[in-house]
Symmetry: C2
Subunit: 306 residues, 2 copies
């Protein structure tokens, strides 16, 4: 084993996590956000990068790219039960990029930030041969919701419909037709800020679906030391026919919320619109996927970079 | 005017600054760090990017690159009179990169962070065709020192020796010989954490020399609405003979501190080792450079990306 590709993304992150001592009074590497207690509140900090021809195609509309860039960060803050406050934008740009393009990008970013009361307070600009967008977003939460606090025998819920982003990506890549909904979900996904206030009182653990449902569910399992049974027939999966269900639920980039809650809260939670009960935690420490009573073994669980 | 190159880096930043409303209770775009008041202290936040073949050569030793990456951020926190606390690392990597290379990088970064009590709390990893390093660093300062608070008729001081980084870069680029000092200053510059406690009681305004002395001095002028007379003969300039003095002082990447202070504090400040009085603020709103009594008009002031 010699290269990063052979090592893999999560082994690299694990290497970094092992090497760097984590402070006793803050939550560092290993959740959607870092959690830093300050006086009687907590700062939440998250960083995400979008690189041209890695995360997006060169013809990704700039107005939608800006929405995506800020929403994938907002989604991390939401997944920790927080409110987004301050953003920092690092832009690497090709000097031959048209001013009108970057103007469209920053105008759209401004609208997205303003509509959520997020202030852009700084960043960095650099020359590069292509466009890269790196956003650091700082939020605040009095009581953060973590990945690591699920218990066995809790219900597992998923918001919204998943797989639409996968189908949108697949259609764009292969020049196929897809619904506006699918295209929009890949090009400009929205963080579920609309649901967080209703979910927050009940969620015992939460994560956003960025790397694929199964992989993100596994993150809850490994962090909380639980297993999860997932019932495929209960998941609201995109109806587009270009991909199969496993491909749809393992692509990621849905930015829906996966959360656990006590069974006593089930009726209250199912009264929230756009939330479905899709599984149950247990002591097994692994993910088991059922499709109408039969166990399915998927070939992959989600997206990794290397 | 059609491209980013024609627009220029500072006009792009100005465009962003104009578009995004800044909050009344925090200091956003336009200083070394953003300043966010939290209870009775202030968070300082800075972001910097290093891109392969833009900011560093492909054969930049990984151990030194890590030191540089964290120190250029620490330098921004120091320039605002703060203490660095929490770091976030975004790495974009070529999957064919050797594990041993990235191990050297993260081990060196860990040492630099540990020696300054900085905790790495998160970040991001992504695939790319080359190496990019983006660090967000959060610090704290009870009384931040800004660029915008210089007054006319104050003394202007510079720490250390400048131009060494320029000479180191020039030697590496053109395969010339240079002293170890020059090479080290380009490859692994150190933030002046050693001087900040002595300078802090006196500095009325401060900036670090990242883009070149004249350009960074201009940032103080425009932010504080003052002018500065700079006396070239008083500046401690690197003795390497490959570049002329103006090229040396306008290259940047020295990470020395340029600060203003009341004249009454002059003797106390000159008692600090490695600090020289190099100029004086005035009402002119522009930089004037004197060389032994004669005015010099430099062809350039510093580094811009586009």
């Amino acid at each position: 084993m010699d290269t990063i590709q052979e090592l893999g993304e999560f082994a690299l992150i694990e290497k970094i996590k092992t090497l760097f001592e984590q402070p006793a009074d803050a939550l560092g590497i290993g959740d959607d956000c870092a959690v830093i207690p300050i006086y009687n509140t907590n700062l939440l900090v998250t960083v995400d990068t979008l690189i041209e021809n890695v995360h997006f195609f060169s013809d990704h509309p700039m107005e939608k790219l800006a929405k995506k860039a800020i929403n994938i960060n907002i989604s991390d803050i939401v997944a920790c039960g927080g409110v987004s406050k301050w953003a920092f934008l690092s832009l690497s740009l090709n000097p031959s990029m048209k001013i009108s393009q970057i103007e469209t990008f920053i105008e759209s970013l401004q609208k997205s930030c303003a509509s959520r009361n997020i202030y852009l307070l700084g960043g960095n600009t650099a020359k590069d041969d292509k466009l890269s967008i790196n956003i650091t977003l700082i939020g605040q939460a009095d009581k953060p919701i973590l990945r690591s606090t699920a218990k066995p025998n809790q219900d597992v819920y998923l918001t919204g419909e998943i797989g639409c982003s996968a189908c949108g990506f697949y259609a764009i890549k292969n020049k196929l037709s897809a619904s506006d909904k699918c295209l929009e979900r890949f090009l400009a996904p929205k963080a579920r800020t609309d649901l967080i206030d209703q979910i927050k009182p009940y969620a015992t653990a939460m994560i956003d679906i960025s790397d694929g449902l199964l992989q993100d569910a596994e993150h809850i399992c490994s962090s909380s030391n639980v297993g999860i049974d997932i019932f495929l027939e209960n998941i609201n999966i995109c109806e587009n026919q270009n991909l199969n269900d496993i491909d749809k639920i393992t692509f990621g980039e849905d930015y829906e919320l996966l959360f656990c809650a006590d069974q006593k809260d089930r009726s209250s939670i199912l009264a929230i619109s756009d939330v479905k009960l899709i599984g149950r935690t247990n002591n097994s420490k692994k993910i088991t996927i059922y499709n109408n009573g039969r166990i399915i073994i998927p070939k992959k669980y989600g997206f990794t970079h290397f």
